[in-house]
Amino acid sequence: MEHIVIIGNGISGVTAARHIRKNSDKQITIISKENKYFFSRTALMYIYMGHMKFEHTQPYENWFWEKNNISLKEAFVANINTEKKVLDFSNGEHLSYDKLIIASGSKPNKFGWPGQDLEGVMGMYHKQDLENLEKYAPNKEACKRAVIVGGGLIGIELAEMLRSRDIPVTFLVRESSFWNGVLPAQESEMINEHIKDHHIDLRLGANLKEIKADENGKVKSIIIEETGEEIFCNVVGLTAGVSPNINFVKESGIATNRGVLVNRFLETNVKDVYAIGDCAEQHDAIGQRRNIEAVWYTGRMMGETLAQTICGNKTAYKPGHWFNSAKFLDIEYQTYGWVFSERGLKEGETYFQWRHPKDYKCITISFHKESRQFIGINTFGIRMRHEIFDKWLTENQSIEYVLEHLADANFDPEFYKLHEGEIMEKFNQENGTNIKLQKKSWKRIFSKA
């Protein structure tokens, strides 16, 4: 029986294993050193915040793996021998495979800052990072202040975590406004306001120069590059993005760049070796997607796709329209299609924007000035229906059509105050149009593109 070995038990590897099992009776082994059982990394923050216990982050009960005949091996892969098709583990053991799936995920970026390996410096990615945080920042008495370096999605989550225990937080963001490489100014500024509302000391345009140690080799303070200011703290969170976790691949002859290089079928240059998820890098970008996509759902999709190929139904990875979501403290964010920040706007593209006068709610719609084609939408504080926007993007609908049928797309809980009327009014004013909002229609919602 063919032996499929998967390195990494994150969402990509586990999805691949589950779908291979669904479609075949191949022997499957998943290897991980982080934790024996699959858990949702996305939920680690909620453990520290006391919303959940670790067991709640495990989507499958522990008996699931044996019942589905998926072996779990707790080990660290040191090297891959692609000639003999054998994995060498750091403890000296070996395991042979017929097909190998590399799904080893990411690791937090460190940019060679002085003091970046001191005690009390951590990322927020692995289960071990959480344990570290619990050790160094159990409460506001033990941790008088924490400094977070890097204004992305993990950074703001770490800030939220620490604030849940009333620990003072200084948040160093390199950009002049939070995440403004991705978000349009309206939204980026709104998030700035919201961060300050949560009593987080937000420092925009601030880079880390160095982390200083006390006499015990623990974090004492950090120095800001631009101002030279010293901020005393007990914990430093490094959240300046992630990169593929592929050190063990380097000697194997498997081609890598920043990640493990794969084609559309998620195959590497070596036969019977595949890579999926955060650690995979497409030779050529797919549409406007990045070559490396460290996103939860793309990992899941790659796992599903590769399982098809491995079970004899050779299938290319073709992610559909871009979408994503996040939560910035209390503000939910969803995006469908492409909305770039001002500096990323393409020729001929423009925005329609609306912001609620009081609440933290806003939308930005990207569209072509000439063709009126709808390109993408960002919503903050308003939930939208994925299927509907996916359909509208496939159908190349116009911005007018989208606005006219916005009620179909709303996904807020029942009884929520809806803002489609105000949004429409603003658009009509700005564009001299007279679009009328259509009532929500189940028929349209369920019709296929």
Binding site: E61, T305, T315, A326, W442
Partner: protein, 540 residues
């Protein structure tokens, strides 16, 4: 702010301590005249009982309720034992006439109930004489203290949004020592209420004035329970309003359960009683209202003129037509988390414990066996009861009507719904009864699963499997297992509380009533994969 909070907690605990302490106060005795009147009123014929009761309760000694109860129960027991012995004796002698005569002297009823009825008349002391002040020191302090504890959350919790910080870091909400203490208190409370009501007779004195104002009569232990129920729901309702103030669905739903509890379950029945009508909770549907078809209720209703007949017809209509039709349009949530009293308590007092429901597959299996067994049990009981009522017999296929009614009332009515259902909130979560026991929920669930427009829609591929939804599902549904596959959630047990949708950080879940087509979508998934891949997967 924190100081206010802890002052509130202190006041609440003082109120609770006084409330509990009143049980041990007062003295209980009757004068000979009072006792004679009582015996005459009840029509007791046993001379032994008269002597025994006289010895027991006509006394100058200051008896507390426990001594009083023990003496009264002893008196009834002695009398009954005496006549049982005579019955046995005449039975052995085959003296049927004499044997038959003895039965009129026996007194039937549960010992603690007999004792309660007498104690209600026998109590003297500070609590009874100062009901108003005592109300303030118990209910009053409790309410003020609880509100002082809850209201600062408007500021302490910060901006509106999901406020679950620290739930698993706190002893009270993480099955710690405080949770176990609360469990012991609640279980004891229910045991006293259901099985030893005489011990709590002092509580009824505190509410006598309110009861008289509402229905003209003195308060019973059930009036105390009903009143307490409303007070707790209101106070904890305030907590819900603050905690979920960003979520209009929760606000509207909380208002609805409070309204139905206070107006329908409490005020209307009391007012009906004061107008000499049978007190009836118009929203309490059979088979949750399991004694609706008991002979005494049917007789009571048929003897109450037009209103009785109306209630009888309404009750049948409610179960057979209104309930299923509403479930078809809105899901069982319209009842379980918008109207029902049990649900109302679960969604207010029980909200801090919702995360303790068991999500394992085994719990789901147990749930399906147990809840449907209770449904069958309640239906068998009702069929037996109705058959015996109309045919005038005592049993059907060997099942005695009285026995099955008593067994159901004891096992399901008192133990399952009360002692376990509410008493175990702090450890097993707030919907133990609703999930594993309620026969009405089982019935509604079958309708919801197979013929309804209600579902929780999963928003395409946005789920990140974080598990907030499953953790906070009070019914133990593993919501995430559906959401992460892009499947809608259509489950018999879902009561539509809407918390999964509220706690989801990515806007993945929405409770909706929509067309039946597309309600269950196990294969028609859009996880973000290109459509033609999904077609390939689906073809297989």
């Amino acid at each position: 702010m924190k100081a206010i909070k802890y002052t509130g907690l202190l006041l609440f605990l003082i109120g609770l301590a006084i409330f509990t302490g009143t049980i041990f106060t007062g003295s209980f005795s009757l004068t000979q005249t009072e006792l004679d009147n009582y015996i005459q009123e009840k029509g007791y014929k046993s001379e032994i009982l008269k002597t025994e009761l006289k010895n027991a309760v006509v006394t100058n000694k200051s008896l507390n309720i426990f001594e009083f109860s023990s003496r009264v129960r002893g008196a009834f027991e002695t009398s009954n034992n005496f006549y049982d012995a005579l019955i046995a004796k005449y039975d052995a002698e085959k003296n049927w006439d004499k044997k038959g005569e003895q039965y009129q002297y026996k007194v039937y009823g549960k010992p603690h109930t007999l004792s309660y009825n007498l104690a209600k008349k026998a109590g003297k002391g500070y609590v009874r004489d100062n009901a108003g002040l005592m109300w303030f020191l118990t209910f009053g302090l409790g309410i003020i203290g609880a509100l002082l504890f809850i209201l600062p959350n408007v500021i302490l919790l910060g901006k509106p949004g999901i406020k679950n910080n620290g739930i698993y870091l706190n002893s009270a909400t993480n099955r710690g020592a405080i949770a176990w203490l609360v469990l012991v208190y609640l279980v004891t409370f229910y045991l006293v209420l259901y099985f030893m009501a005489d011990y709590a007779v002092n509580w009824t004195y505190i509410l006598d004035p309110i009861s008289k104002a509402l229905n003209g009569g003195e308060a019973s232990q059930w009036f105390v329970y009903g009143f307490l129920y409303c007070v707790i729901m209101l106070t904890m309702g305030v907590r819900m309003y603050i905690k979920y103030r960003h979520n209009k669905y929760q606000i509207v739903r909380t208002t609805s359960v409070l309204f139905f509890q206070i107006v329908f379950a409490f005020l209307i029945p009391e007012i009906m009683t004061s107008l000499n009508m049978p007190g009836y909770d118009f929203k309490n549907a059979f088979p949750l209202d399991y004694d609706f078809f008991f002979d005494w209720n049917i007789e009571n209703l048929t003897n109450s003129g037009g209103i009785g007949i109306f209630i009888l017809v309404w009750g049948i209509l409610l179960t057979l037509v209104i309930v299923p039709v509403m479930v078809y349009f809105f899901g069982k949530r319209w009842y379980c988390s918008w109207v029902c009293g049990c649900g109302g308590l679960a969604e207010t007092l029980g909200d801090p414990y919702r995360q303790h429901s068991n999500k394992s597959l085994n719990a789901w299996k147990l749930e399906r066996w147990l809840i449907h067994s209770v449904l069958v049990f309640s239906l068998v009981m009702t069929i037996v009861t109705l058959y015996c009522y109309f045919s005038g017999t005592e049993s059907l296929i060997g099942i005695k009507s009285q026995w099955i009614k008593d067994t159901y009332s004891f096992l399901i009515g008192a133990w399952f719904a009360g002692v376990i259902g509410t008493g175990f909130y702090p450890i097993f979560g707030n919907r133990v009864w609703c999930r594993f026991g309620c026969p009405l929920a089982a019935y509604l669930g079958l309708v919801q699963r197979f013929k309804s427009r209600f579902r929780i829609t999963t928003n395409g591929g946005q789920c990140i499997s974080c598990g907030n939804c499953s953790t906070y599902c009070e019914q133990g549904i593993d919501v995430r297992s559906y959401a992460q596959k892009g499947e809608n959630i259509v489950r018999a047990s879902c009561v539509g509380c809407g918390i999964c949708s509220a706690v989801c950080p990515r806007g993945v879940l929405k409770l909706e009533n929509g067309p039946e087509t597309g309600r269950i979508n196990p294969t028609d998934v859009l996880l973000g994969n290109d459509v033609d891949l999904m077609q390939l997967v689906n073809k297989k």
